[in-house]
């Protein structure tokens, strides 16, 4: 069974990931387009400009990111099911396919480049994550032994 108990097992996690990514994109889009709309509006209309920019554009950013997350999760689950292994390569392979799938309408060249870029990016993420995990791992220390053994410690 999967190691991480904060996440659901495979087919269901796709839905979670899609929703999570959408929320992330929507919130990030709110911040981004709110500021942008605010700055690009004339004085007196700035609040309204920010709001309308958010209303128009934040859902779209959320949708884009959601599609990315959902697609990535689908590929991740498929790769896991096929390889029957759980390591960093799963994410790299899934990233490769996700990047490719999203760019496929731009032609073969675009697809290839975007797939490779995405795979490299995820490889870097995974590498950094693993490095952090290793650096955080602490050696086991010996417990403290009193000089006189306690009667019951045997």
């Amino acid at each position: 069974m999967s190691a991480d108990h904060t996440r659901d097992p495979c087919p269901i996690v796709i839905l979670n990931d899609f929703g999570g990514a959408f929320a992330m994109g929507a919130i990030g889009g709110c911040v981004w387009h709110g500021i942008k709309g605010f700055r690009n509006s004339p004085y007196g209309e700035r609040g309204y400009g920010a709001l309308s920019a958010i209303k128009q554009r934040a859902p779209r950013v959320g949708g884009n990111l959601g599609v990315w997350g959902g697609l990535f999760s689908i590929f991740d689950c498929s790769v896991k099911a096929i390889r029957k292994r759980e390591d960093a390569w799963n994410a790299v392979i899934a990233g490769f396919f996700t990047g490719g799938a999203l760019a496929i309408r731009g032609g073969w060249k675009h697809t290839r480049n975007s797939a490779i870029t995405c795979a490299c990016l995820l490889g870097v993420f995974e590498g950094v994550g693993m490095m952090m995990q290793r650096l955080q791992a602490q050696p086991t220390m010996a417990p403290v032994y009193p000089e006189e053994p306690q009667a019951l410690a045997a």
Binding site: M1, R83, P139, A142, Y145, P149
Partner: protein, 468 residues
């Protein structure tokens, strides 16, 4: 954008309405000056006189559409002209598709690809180089690969060096997974390495409850009883962040399990997660590993007992393992491996040991009978005095009784002091748990060495207090 669209729309309207009717007259009247571009004005006049369209050039000009393409008006006159225009248009589109910016970008991309390629070739070439020194050669375990620039040697050095780049992630995080063995008076005879998932606990997921983790029946007794014979090491297959809390919950007082190891301590090779017991810092003759995965024991299969995965159904397997493990720990043996491997099927070790035990008991009682015939003065006198003669016990039973007594004793001690243990832990947590961001950046996370030092100090103080 909008303007361009509307212009195209207008143009189509014009071509449809304005051109159709005047063509015939134009052909007859102005056929000669049609191709002459100099005579634009007259031509325009001719056009403006006749069309029914309200949108003449004047109005368009007033509306802001000045540069209407005259060619569009004349396009239908001649098929060849049209073709030419179309060709021109497509050529223009092609040109427009690739702006100077695009060309620049493409050039940069090409430069980047070339640089990557050259860099890759250079890197591969560099990795083919001779060994820097003997140490590198030894570290990479490549004593049979010498220096020199034959293709074979170069390739071998390359593959060794390339492999070493990835071993950073696949090797265990530490050289010695455990600290040296405990001092003599605290030492248990053997070390027992247990995996966590599907041996001691089982996690399952369903839509109603999400993740749930179950303890295997008899787990507390198993750990508590065997901790008097074994130094128990929990070696989980999952990462520390996922398994640490579960592991500490199994043994809240840190009384049974001596050490916790996690996935970080595993070796990852060819898709297999291997628990390398040789890194445990213990004599391999005194280590028994119980695991559920063949792969994790692939380096020391002779030390390991591979059992079936527990699927979460009630069973008493852990309890049934105890007699064998107890027997193993209480016999004066130098090396457990020959004994472990004397079982034909180690996954069936419980049944096989039960048969052996039965044989042993039969043998013993037979011997007893033989010995019982010999005159025994004490028994004889007791019989004469009418006292009940106790049947002597089988050594295995004596061990068992003794173990049980000690286990109960220890449980009592634990229960009496449970609150004290928890309090002490809480104190430590409070002291080291409060990690501010500032402290984390300036001093780093609290090191286990520091924690142990403080613990040592505390223990010293405690002893001094008691002596007073």
């Amino acid at each position: 954008m909008f303007r361009l669209q509307s212009r195209n729309l207008l143009r189509s309207v014009i071509t449809r309405t304005a051109i159709r009717q005047p063509i015939k007259s134009q052909i007859t009247k102005n056929f000669t000056n049609f191709y002459s571009t100099t005579d634009k004005n007259t031509q325009k006049k001719d056009e403006t006189k006749k069309p029914e369209s309200v949108l003449n050039d004047d109005m368009l000009a007033r509306a802001g559409f000045e540069d209407l393409d005259p060619k569009a008006n004349k396009a239908e006159e001649d098929a060849e002209v049209e073709k030419e225009i179309q060709q021109e248009k497509s050529a223009r589109r092609r040109k427009r598709a690739q702006t100077s910016k695009d060309r620049q970008r493409e050039r940069y991309a090409n430069i980047f690809y070339l640089a990557t390629l050259l860099g890759g070739i250079a890197g591969v070439g560099y990795m083919c180089r001779d060994w820097d020194n003997i140490k590198e050669q030894e570290d990479l375990d490549a004593k049979d690969i010498g220096d020199g620039y034959s293709p074979e040697l170069m390739y071998k050095r390359l593959s060794k060096r390339l492999g070493s780049l990835f071993t950073f992630f696949s090797e265990p995080a530490f050289e010695n997974l455990l600290p040296p063995p405990a001092p003599e008076q605290y030492r248990r005879p053997l070390t027992l390495v247990l995996t966590l998932d599907d041996l001691l606990i089982h996690s399952s997921w369903d839509t109603n409850h999400g993740w749930r983790t179950a303890k295997r029946p008899g787990l507390d007794y198993f750990l508590g009883y065997l901790s008097q014979y074994y130094e128990i090491v929990l070696f989980a297959t999952n990462s520390q962040i996922y398994s640490e809390k579960t592991a500490s919950k199994l043994d809240p007082y840190h009384a049974y399990i001596s050490y916790h190891l996690f996935r970080e301590a595993c070796r990852y090779k060819d898709g297999k997660l291997i628990k390398d017991l040789s890194l445990l810092n213990r004599d391999l003759g005194k280590v028994v590993m119980i695991d559920v995965d063949q792969d994790s024991a692939s380096l020391q299969p002779e030390n390991s007992i591979i059992v079936k995965k527990w699927a979460g159904k009630p069973d008493d397997y852990l309890i049934s393992l105890i007699p064998f493990l107890e027997y193993l720990a209480t016999q004066p043996i130098k090396d457990v491996r020959p004994i472990l491997n004397s079982f034909q099927n180690k996954s069936n070790i419980v049944e096989e040991f039960t048969i052996r035990e039965k044989k042993l008991r039969d043998q013993w009682s037979k011997d007893r009978k033989g010995a019982g015939n010999a005159p025994n003065a004490g028994n004889f006198i007791a019989k004469l005095l009418g006292m009940p003669v106790s049947e002597p016990k089988m050594p295995l039973d004596i061990i068992r009784e003794h173990g049980q007594l000690q286990y109960e004793h220890f449980q009592k001690y634990l229960q009496e002091n449970a609150s004290k243990f928890l309090e002490e832990e809480q104190k430590l947590k409070e002291e080291f748990g409060k990690v501010t961001l500032n402290k984390l950046i300036t001093e780093g996370a609290p090191k286990p060495e520091d924690i142990v030092k403080v613990q040592q100090q505390r223990a010293q103080e405690e002893i001094e207090k008691q002596q007073k």
